[in-house]
Structures are given as C-alpha cells and as structure tokens.
C-alpha cells in the first residue's frame, strides 16, 4: 500500500498528494503533528533498547494516520516497522538505499547543504536514487527565497523549522532573502505578525505564501519561469540553476513535452531550457523537410502561430502561387529554426520573448549553429533570406549563402521578396500537399524519423484529419498536437516507439502505473502514446515519463483516448 501519488509534473517539480489523516497537497510544509518519529537510534544505549522503543512506538501510535519516520540511521539499525501507515526513511546522499518502498525519504542533515554545487549535486543524487513515486523531504532547509528552487530541483516536502528558528534570532525572511530585522527601515510586509513583532510567525507565513505560489506555478506549468526570476535573489542560486541546466539527462527525463501556458524566454538561461533544446534537436534529428529546392528564411512574429500574424500574411500574399515551390523556415530566438509545418507545435506557438531588435552573441550563435546543422542535413538549391536587422547581419556574418532581400513588410520590400522568389523558383520542383506534409512532419517530430512516411502513406487530409484510402481516420491535429486513432496506431506499431505495454487487463479511461509492464524510455508527460497488450490496443496521452511508468507503483500513467479489445 502506498500513501503518496504524483499528480502533475513541471520539470523535476511535482504536484502530489500525501495521504495522511487529511490529504496533503505537495509540495507542502510538513508539521510535527503530521508525523511520528522513532527518532535517532542515538537516543538509546544500544540496539536492544532501540528495538524496544520501536515496539513501544508501534503500540502507542496515535489515532489517525501519521507519517511514521523509521529509526535512523537505517543502515546501522535496519529496524523496519510493519504498519498500515506511510513510512518515511531517513537517508544520506550517496549511501545505498536500504529500503525501496518508503513513501517519503527524508534527507538527513539537508539543512547543512550549502552552495550551488552542493545543493544541485546532493538533490539530484538523492532524487535519482529514490523511487520516482516517493516524496522527498528536506528538513530545515527551506526559506521563502530558496523554496521555488528546491521544489524545481525535485523536493516535495519541506518544513518551517529553519525560518521559525531564524525568527527567534530576529532574522527576517521574505521571498527576497534574509535580513536582520532591525536593519530594515520599514518592514516590507503588512501581516499581523509584523505588526505585533512576531518574526518567527511572519517567517512561517512568508514560507507558506511562497509555497502556495509555487504550487500554483506547477499547476499552470510556469515554475521554470518563476525560478529563472527568483534565482536572481543571490548569485549562488543563479549558479545553481545554471548547474542544474547542465544536468541535461536529469532535466530532460522530467520535462513534459507540452504545457498549456506561454513559455517566457526572458533570460539567458531560457536558451538552455529542455523545451528549447528538445525542439531544435527534434527538428535536426527527427524531422525531415519535404523534397524541395527552395528554402525561404523568414523572421518570427509576436503573434503565434506565425502564419496568423500580419507580417506572415503579407509574406504569404507576396509569395502567391510560388508557395508550392518553397519550403519555409522561420528563424527565431530561442527556438532557432521552426519549419512552417511545425509552427503550431509546442513551444513554437507558445513562447514570448523580449523584443528589442538586439540579438546577443549567445542567441546569434545558437540560431546560426542550428541553421548550419539544418542545412548540412537538408540541402536546397537556393535559399532566400527575407530577414532584416541584426538577424540578417548574423546570417551574413555566419557565412550563410542566400539571396538576401533585406526583409521588411512594406510594398517595395515585399516586391523584393517576390522577385527573389521568382528567381529562386525557376525550374524548382513543386512540394506536395502542404496539409499532408504537415501530418508527415508532425508524425516525425512526435514519433521519430520515418513515422511520418508510414502514417501518411496513401493517405489524404480533410480538415484537421488524416484518412487512409479506405476512408478510415488515422490521426488528427489539434492545436499542433497529433492524436492517433487505433488505425493510426496500428500503422505505427511496427516502429516499436512510444509504446506502453500493459498487463492482461482491459483498462478504462486511464492506465495506472502498476498496470504498466514496459514503456518506451523516450515517453514524456504529454506525449501521444500507444497502449498495447495481447488483448488490447489503445491510444492516449502519457501523464508521466516512460521510465517513471515502469518504476512507479501509483499514479496515472496514460490517459486513454481510444481503446479496444483485440
């Protein structure tokens, strides 16, 4: 029996439920009333006494379900308590994990963690060593200013011990940091405790408020944005975020492929986001452009998808009939290279970034290098670059061989675009049906190279749906996401990707983690997946990563859309 469940993921951060007397939504602040601790064995003279104490603890457990903290250090005592209640194990980073099925793991001496490297390494190490569906508790570590970072690193449970104690030392916490109360000319908080001078209570309140906000950020899928902001409190937190971003595997395996919210690319760290790297990497490795001779490079627009913007409408009308010869690639920061067929895919249609016309060196290098990699793999006879300003300069400086029109949306500028395209399109091959190309591109993007050809073979598009020659729907596209029908799934099955294999039962509505026998490692929350067993075929959206489905004993693995016995 398990008493913790992860409900939602936003990068390594999770929203979960800890089932005690009351259901607690994590990340949470745990209070001493929520748990019963067997305590450190060093409270006893010897192991015999420690074991007796365990017995008396078990017998005297209060009514109502509490978290039971096993005696620690566990590796010295190995005293398990067999009880129908959530169990917590106190663990040290780096030491082997003696008990694999606790609900909560308590990081011993977490409060002594200091510095960016220590924090990131310790938390990643412990998080990677405990099961994904267990909660991680870091005692005496959280403050209002570091809380969002802790949660973003993967912490589920914190406490108010540190800030309360700080309060007794007249240390005043806000989300902006830690201050000596009497060095503040005015208290920047109007809570009742500030009026009455109760700094410990104020500190706890601030921690609680920050926690509510962090939970809200996870719900709306915006924690990354908040963390990018909040780590500016102090350089070591900024360093921690940068170090975390170098842990690419840790981050990538935990980051959903889709969010409902706008992605703000507001900082230099935004370039390192999983969403950004993953998008470009998929364009370079999974996506294949249609057979085409002419590539048109266009600037991005504030409005998304680009084609709904005024500027792109003007480009389109300037292209006129030549559109069917031209493949379009939009250059942008931070996504670098967005093929037209993928413009509505997450996050291409979901980002916003400060627009000043300036491209800094990192952005330039990122877009140029991505474009060069793209052009190395995908050859065109002619390239027309309808770009202006610094982006245009960057391409020229980067040695991209193209017809440069100078960009712009004025009548003369569009005329130059038209003329350049006319020249470029002379004797060019026409590209096939754009809507079909879109299905092909997205299938490749979502399921890997080759999926597009298999899915679209002999198929045709009507509205937002793909039909096979017999008129059966294979897939549909909504807001840039692909949804497979069972017929579509059958076509992709031989590829062996994005498959969740379940046990011998017929799921309804959802597939729960314990039912998963195996799952493609590539699967991330939000991905379209195919659910199979010997008796069942279904399609749906993954709610957790593939590795997590395999390792978890609780939680929704897949939300089914369709399914049938086979």
């Amino acid at each position: 029996m398990r008493f913790f469940e992860v409900l939602r993921r936003d990068g390594p951060a999770r929203l979960g439920r800890l089932m005690l007397d009351r259901n607690i939504t994590t990340p949470c602040i745990i209070s001493p009333e929520d748990y019963v601790s067997a305590g450190s064995i060093f409270r006893h003279r010897n192991l015999e006494e420690a074991r007796e104490a365990k017995v008396s603890l078990t017998e005297s457990l209060p009514a109502g379900r509490r978290l039971v903290v096993l005696p620690y250090p566990y590796d010295l005592v190995n005293i398990d308590i067999d009880i129908d209640a959530p169990r917590a194990l106190v663990v040290d980073p780096g030491s082997p994990l003696p008990l694999k099925d606790a609900d909560v793991y308590v990081l011993r001496a977490a409060g002594a963690i200091s510095g960016a490297r220590d924090l990131v390494n310790t938390l990643i190490e412990i998080r990677e060593s405990i099961p994904p569906d267990a909660a991680l508790y870091t005692p005496a570590l959280a403050t209002p200013s570091n809380l969002s970072l802790l949660v973003y690193l993967g912490v589920d449970i914190v406490d108010s011990v540190r800030v309360e104690m700080d309060g007794y030392y007249s240390r005043y916490h806000t989300r902006d940091g830690l201050f000596q109360r009497d060095e503040l000319s005015e208290l920047p908080c109007r809570c009742e405790h500030c009026s009455s001078g109760d700094t410990p209570a104020h500190n706890i309140l601030k921690l609680e408020e920050e926690l509510v906000w962090v939970r809200e950020c996870i719900r709306s899928g915006t924690l990354r944005e908040y963390v990018e902001r909040q780590v500016r409190c102090v350089p070591w937190m900024t360093a921690a975020l940068r170090l975390l971003d170098t842990q690419e595997r840790y981050m990538e395996r935990r980051t959903p492929t889709h969010r409902g919210s706008v992605m703000y690319a507001n900082t230099s760290e935004s370039l390192r986001r999983v969403e950004v790297r993953r998008f470009v990497s998929r364009v370079l490795t999974r996506y294949r452009p249609p057979e085409s001779d002419v590539l048109l490079l266009l600037p991005c627009s504030a409005r998304k998808p680009y084609s709904e913007s005024r500027s792109h409408r003007l480009f389109r009308s300037a292209m006129g009939g030549m559109r069917r010869f031209v493949h379009e690639l939009i250059l942008t920061s931070p996504l670098a290279i967005v093929p037209r067929e993928l413009e509505d895919v997450y996050p291409a249609a979901h980002y916003d970034t400060p627009v000043t016309g300036v491209w800094d060196l990192e952005e330039r290098a990122w877009v140029i290098n991505s474009l060069k990699s793209y052009l190395k793999k995908n050859r065109y006879t002619r390239i027309v670059a309808h770009l202006e300003g610094e982006l245009c300069d960057a391409l020229r400086d980067g040695g991209i061989d193209a017809i440069y029109t100078g960009g712009g949306t004025g009548p003369e500028e569009l005329e130059r675009l038209r003329e350049a395209l006319e020249f470029a399109c002379a004797s060019a091959r026409p590209i096939g049906n754009f809507r079909l190309q879109e299905f092909r591109a997205k299938a490749d993007f979502y399921f890997g190279a080759g999926a597009g050809d298999i899915l679209t073979q002999g198929a045709r598009v009507k509205g937002n749906r793909l039909f096979d020659s017999a008129g059966r729907t294979l897939a549909s596209i909504n807001s840039g996401r692909i949804a497979l029908t069972l017929d579509g799934a059958r076509r992709l099955l031989p590829l062996g990707v994005y498959i969740v294999r379940i046990g011998d039962f017929i799921p309804r509505g959802t597939v729960l983690a314990p039912g998963v026998v195996d799952a493609d490692e590539q699967i991330r929350p939000g991905d379209e997946v195919i659910v199979v067993s010997d008796y069942f075929l279904g399609t749906g959206r993954a709610r957790m990563s593939g590795w997590e489905m395999v390792a978890s004993r609780r939680g929704v693995a897949v939300e089914l859309r369709e399914g049938a016995e086979v």
């Binding site: 450190s40 060093f42 540190r162 104690m165």
Partner: protein
C-alpha cells in the same frame, strides 16, 4: 617549537578535594600522544612528539617548583598516562617518587580503560592516593561507537572502574556534552542519562563541553554547518538536574567562542563563571543566572529535534 624536554603546559589552580577546595597543579606532559587517536572531536594528539622516558622526566623536573605546596596534582598527557608506550614505566616511577617526596596528597591522571591494569594501579597507589580519569563520554554504546568513535564499550569502562575501586583508587568519569550527531535536546538527555549510568562507577563526574578543535573530523563538520557546540544553558541544565550523590564538575573551556560552548555572546562570561562556581561549590544556587537568550535556547531544544541532524545556529 615543540621540545620533547618541556611540557605542553603547567598551571596552578583550585579544585574540589573531598568536599572542600584545595590548591592544585595541572601539568600537561608532552608525549607521543594517544595511541587510539580516532575520536572525532579530539585534536590533542597533534601536540605529540616522540618523547623518551628521559624526555618526560626532564619535562616533569622542569616544573617541580610549580608543584610545591599543591595538595592535588593532575598529570595529563593528551593520551593515557597508563599507556607504557606513551609514558614509559621508568618515567612514571620517577614522577611518582617525586610527588610522594613533595607531600602531594593525590594524583589525578587519565587513561583509556585498556591500559588500566592491576600492576600499574598497585604501583601508583603504593606511592599516593590516585584518581583515574576515564573518558567514558556517554553511557550509550551507540553514541560512543558511532558518533565519537571511542573504541571501547560501557562494559570496558565498568570493568576498569571496578578494578580501580577494588584497589582503593578513585574514578573520575568524563562525559562529553553534545557529541556531533545529537540535537541539543538529545545531548542533554544523553548527558543526564550517562551521568546516572556512570554514578555507581564513579567518584566524581566531569562534564566536558564539546568544542571544535583544529584539524579534526568535527571541525570539518562544523565548517560545513553540520555542528554547533553546546549552549552553556545546556550545561547548566545538566548540572542542575542531574541530582547525583557524587560531585559533578565542569570547566567550560573556550566558553563564548564560536568554536566553544556558547550562548548569545552577551551572557557567555557570567554563565561560564556560574558553572565554574558550581564546580567548586556543588551548590545549585550558583546556577541561578538568566539571559534573554534562554528563551531562544528553549526554542532550539524544541526545533533542533525536528531538523534531522542539523544545528539551527
């Protein structure tokens, strides 16, 4: 300049002696140091040099004038006086002779239990009354083994104590207040229980307040924020509440320093003084001191128990 011919230190003082206050001399001899030398908080052995019997005799002779008139002489070695590898028998014999010749009433030495053997004890007691200090630190074998790494058991301690008592010697038991790995509250409880456990085997108990010595495992723990020396209030608490029939003394070495036992910085001086007074008087009234930081300390007792192994400085 560590010369094998001069002791580490020597000083005169006043000590509790069978219920009254007496003149004392304390000598710290420079030896090769403790052969165990693995306790997490101990940095004494770094003072060590290879000292021969002649060296040690020379050290002792050089401070004979400071012994003149003392009823009580304490000879410490940053190790075990009874370890023949540290203090060769020849040196021990010479020291004992001198002390007897100078009419010293009692000798206080320290030793780990494994060096406390019948022959050595009989030899010493044949010269003068002796009190053997043993660093029990805690009566919990778990604390002593895993947190201090002391390397002997409570059973080893009681065995040594029984032998000393059977030969007419006295036992002074050292307890360590707040070994690393205990919360402030746990440390108090550990010290109180240890005192009660040790009482039947001791003639006097000395409560040592843990301090952070250089180049020790404890120092590294402290530098990383993993340890805070005990509050002086904790020592006051133990001294006041222990309620033993034997004396309990305490010298708060390094009180008020960041590395030593300390309270808030304001009251450290007078609280340490109160503890020293109590050590001589054994009168609880001497411990009636207060400061506004006492309420902070009470919160520390409460909250540090929730921190799973980290001090809340």
């Amino acid at each position: 300049m560590k010369s094998a011919r001069s002791p580490v230190a020597v000083w005169r003082g006043r000590d509790l002696f069978d219920g009254r206050v007496a003149e004392s001399t304390t000598v710290i001899l420079r030896t090769r140091g403790c052969r165990w030398n693995r306790c997490v908080m101990c940095g004494y052995a770094q003072e060590g040099v290879d000292a021969s019997a002649e060296d040690i005799i020379a050290q002792f002779r050089s401070i004979l004038d400071k012994v003149e008139g003392a009823e009580l002489v304490k000879i410490y070695t940053s190790g075990s006086f009874l370890d023949p590898a540290e203090v060769p028998e020849a040196a021990r014999l010479e020291i004992l002779r001198s002390l007897r010749d100078m009419d010293v009433r009692r000798l206080v030495i320290e030793s780990r239990p494994e060096y406390i053997d019948r022959l050595a004890l009989e030899q010493i007691l044949s010269f003068l009354d002796a009190e053997i200090g043993i660093g029990l630190e805690s009566s919990s074998d778990l604390v002593r083994t895993y947190l201090i790494n002391k390397g002997f058991t409570f059973f080893d301690f009681t065995g040594a104590s029984d032998m000393i008592h059977s030969l007419g010697g006295r036992v002074k038991t050292y307890l360590l207040l707040k070994p690393p790995g205990l919360s402030e509250m746990e440390a108090i409880a550990d010290a109180m229980r240890s005192a009660r456990d040790a009482e039947p085997y001791s003639d006097i108990i000395s409560l040592n307040l843990c301090n952070v010595q250089r180049n020790t495992p404890l120092e590294r723990m402290w530098q990383r924020g993993g340890y805070r020396p005990p509050w002086l209030w904790s020592a006051v608490e133990v001294l006041r509440e222990a309620s033993l029939k034997i004396p309990v003394i305490c010298d708060p070495v390094g009180a008020g320093a960041r590395r030593g036992p300390h309270n808030c910085g304001t009251c450290d001086g007078y609280v340490a003084a109160a503890i020293r007074s109590f050590s001589l008087s054994q009168s609880r009234a001497d411990l009636n001191v207060d400061c506004s930081c006492r309420s902070v300390w009470r919160k520390v007792l409460e909250l540090e128990d929730l921190s799973f192994g980290v001090p809340l400085v």
